[in-house]
Symmetry: C2
Subunit: 506 residues, 2 copies
């Protein structure tokens, strides 16, 4: 006689399987963190194979038939809580998506990615896109096939987007980027007519140790919990989480550029606060994970730009900063500092762009990816297309491939559909921040006095604690009362930069 298992028992089985997978994936994250921070050079090769082994194990565990059976059985149970049901539904969706990939395809993609990455490194060394192009072409071909495997109703790009931002599609992005073009270009043109604020003082000598201490202080003031995290140094700043009680950030310090460390601390701090705010009791389950890349980026950008590049933020912190770097900053008034850290100027490199021109960098990549996916663009023409776009939208002439089409690592990794989430992050950030200011009385007064508790609490209650329970669209609508709309970012930009560049006083 077979006794039917209770839903509670079945759910417990499911939780155990998922947490086991999470343990393996989080172990990979520890190895990855170590790789970027402390790994001795000669250890790289063996570390690579250790990561591959863990990845294979995690993949096998997640592709296990018995997990699928369990998920389908649980999907029929009606006596689960809403969160439990959501976990099961999302896990089943992930499971079935994962099972769609034929093993041969996974292997082909893995070796193509490896080859593309090394070709990209080589192409950068030789400053020659032609070295990378054939492997990029192969990658595009594979991504087209991946879109077919995953399935889509509209544009093939939708299938890839969905990997990073559930529910986003080409239709939504076309609308957003049309708004970007129509409304930001005129603003940039106005700004271009104004004098460029002085920012030379940001490039004076800022000793490493003092920068480091200042950055830690900022993180602490934001509410980042050093009991459940730490900061280290790496070549490229990043945030990684092994569980909500161990969320780590890294930064880099350039003694000739105060901004490098400052913005990475605040940006990664924003990502980390999100991860520290995810519900620990949902460890390993969808509701314990971030909603999407766009929402993740909204948290980092809200802190970096809406808070960290605001006048009220520096009203509180600037005196301290001046005290630390007296010879560099004592003669620089707050207003000049504020203008310098918000300089808007078209440039070549996405990661160095200001918060307005940044979105043209993303738009260019979005248009290119879309075109490659639907076949209207070819990789062999990519250098020319890239350079033309930069001339058209940013009025800059790309001098070489290194500062042009070879600047990002993403395509060599096979990450197509990732770039748009950066812009979505900024736009979500503006809309969320706007809502927070409306809903929380005295929020900006608190920020002006260096108190971020109320803001963090609002983010915890409205965003962090839900994990993946809502999609980014749903979450946005629930919290702000409307779908994502570019108008909030535009209003923010017009107000802020109108003030900085005195645009209404001409």
């Amino acid at each position: 006689m077979t006794v039917q298992k209770t839903s509670a028992d079945l759910y417990q089985d499911y939780v155990e399987k998922m947490q086991k997978i999470a343990d393996v994936r989080n172990a990979m994250s520890v190895l990855g963190w170590d790789q970027e921070t402390y790994l001795p050079p000669a250890g790289a090769t063996f570390r690579g194979r250790q990561l591959t082994t863990l990845s294979t194990i995690a993949h096998e565990l997640f592709a296990d038939e018995s997990l699928g059976g369990l998920l389908r059985e649980l999907g029929n149970r009606t006596d689960l809580s809403a969160i439990q049901q959501k976990n099961v539904a999302l896990s089943l969706e992930d499971y079935e998506k994962n099972r769609k990939y034929p093993a041969a395809f996974v292997a082909e993609m893995s070796s193509a990615t490896n080859a593309a990455y090394h070709a990209w490194i080589k192409a950068r060394k030789e400053n020659n896109f032609a070295v990378f192009e054939p492997l990029l072409a192969k990658m595009v071909d594979l991504k087209k096939r991946e879109a077919d495997i995953l399935g889509y109703t509209g544009h093939p790009y939708d299938a890839l987007l969905n990997e990073y931002e559930r529910g986003a599609d080409v239709q939504m992005l076309d609308t957003i980027f049309r708004d970007v073009k129509n409304s930001l270009l005129p603003l940039l043109q106005q700004i271009a007519l104004r004098d460029v604020p002085d920012r030379k003082f940001l490039a004076r000598h800022y000793p490493k140790d003092q920068q480091w201490e200042f950055g830690l202080g900022i993180l602490r003031s934001m509410g980042y919990d050093f009991n459940a995290g730490r900061q280290d140094v790496s070549e490229h700043p990043f945030t990684t989480s092994f569980n909500p009680r161990d969320v780590r950030v890294t930064t880099r310090i350039d003694e000739q550029d105060l901004g490098n460390m400052t913005w990475s601390c605040i940006h990664e701090g924003g990502h980390a606060l999100y991860e520290q705010g995810l519900p620990a009791e949902e460890y390993g389950l969808p509701c314990g994970e971030a909603a999407s890349l766009g929402i993740h980026e909204s948290q980092s950008r809200l802190w970096e730009n809406n808070v960290g590049r605001s006048l009220i933020f520096w009203q509180h912190h600037y005196g301290n900063l001046q005290g630390i770097f007296r010879s560099n900053l004592l003669a620089v008034p707050l207003q000049n500092f504020y203008k310098a850290i918000n300089l808007v100027q078209p440039s070549l490199i996405r990661t160095e762009a200001d918060e307005l021109t940044y979105h043209f960098h993303v738009m260019i990549r979005y248009e290119i990816e879309k075109g490659l996916l639907d076949g209207s663009l070819q990789t062999k023409d990519l250098r020319d297309i890239w350079n033309q776009y930069y001339l058209d939208y940013l009025q800059v002439k790309v001098p070489d491939d290194l500062r042009g089409v070879l600047q990002d690592i993403h395509w060599s990794h096979g990450s197509f559909g990732y770039f748009p989430t950066y812009s979505l992050g900024s736009f979500y950030a503006a809309q969320l921040y706007n809502t927070a200011v409306k809903q929380v009385p005295g929020l900006e007064n608190a920020i002006a006095s260096g108190n971020y508790n109320t803001l963090l609490e609002w983010l915890r209650n409205n965003i962090h604690r839900y994990g993946r329970f809502y999609t980014s669209n749903e979450l946005c609508e629930k919290v702000t009362g409307e779908k994502l709309s570019f108008k909030h970012f535009l209003a923010y930009a017009e107000k802020k930069y109108g003030g900085i560049y005195e645009l209404n006083e001409q």
Copy 2:
């Protein structure tokens, strides 16, 4: 028709399975290293479960029937190289030993260890052995059962010893420790009649950063490869290896005690040189692993004591050390420094003991473990037995349990049979060093001039490169021409301490 696989193909299958297991185990080591160096406090709980999951996975992979079948099949093949045959034979031995443990026993041991460890922590807090005793009794019971599971012909302790030191047994250790007693006690009695050298200057203020730099310099001079390793700080110094290209050491720094950092650097450096010298091409296989704990310890102690506490070592380094810590050491002659770092004085704590009295600490533990295992001693009497032994052998009165029977973590971990390997390490070290000096012309001249290349090369060629190919006994006989004999350590001790304490001049 089934085509029989070639031995080369079968061996390749075996290598892949073993390397996969090694990858998981080494990932655990990375997580363990992180736990002791950089883990934020709140991350400990999740880290614990991540380690348990990886441990379970590694165990399952190693217990897999298909691996057993493969090993047995390979065991019948005669067309394998000597190293391949040895790998297969040792893996099969490990595999069968691993399969002997019933799952219920493993679970019981795991929960008993956990309980014992926490009771030990609590007992130390309360400075009361009685808190730990019942859990230790349970542990002893389990270790007796483990000895039965593993099987033995002589003393049940042999089965446990064999886990750490293949081929060692009670008969061998009884002989060794009888020699220790008979010949070291008289030496200690002679030393006790002499004046105690001054060592107060070692407890002056030694700033952290300068100690750190000095330690790194010593490691570099020993030949430790920082391209394939690194040093960090942890509460208890240790060496860990993720593969021969990534072998890490840790140290601790006490600003009031120069010795703490110095000896941990050299000791762990010796362990690390062994791991860096293991054959990388045997990754994951027995011949890529250390021969035994005793041989491992022989490497650390050879560097720490035979080299690092020698007069010729400091003839080279002392000037530099004086230069760094001028106000502390400039007025201290080399001879006084040399005497101070070789002070012999009975004491309460094993880890702080000098290189002579140390072996009585080990002998006491050995006698106790043996008695517990064969039932001639009971845990309830352990405090009294311990204190009596310390009075008898070391003439020290144990003031409390913290400085007595509760000082070591080993029993709470279930590590019975581990302690003797510390002494074996010292005795192997003396015998090996003796042989090296005989075989390599000018070895001590090289050491006196700060050149350790020749010594390291000799260790690489005679010890490191063999991995587990030979047991410690076999290796010792092969390299030194005879079995392990205490006489080499005794000759070393008599010569060194006879000089320091001017024993022949009375």
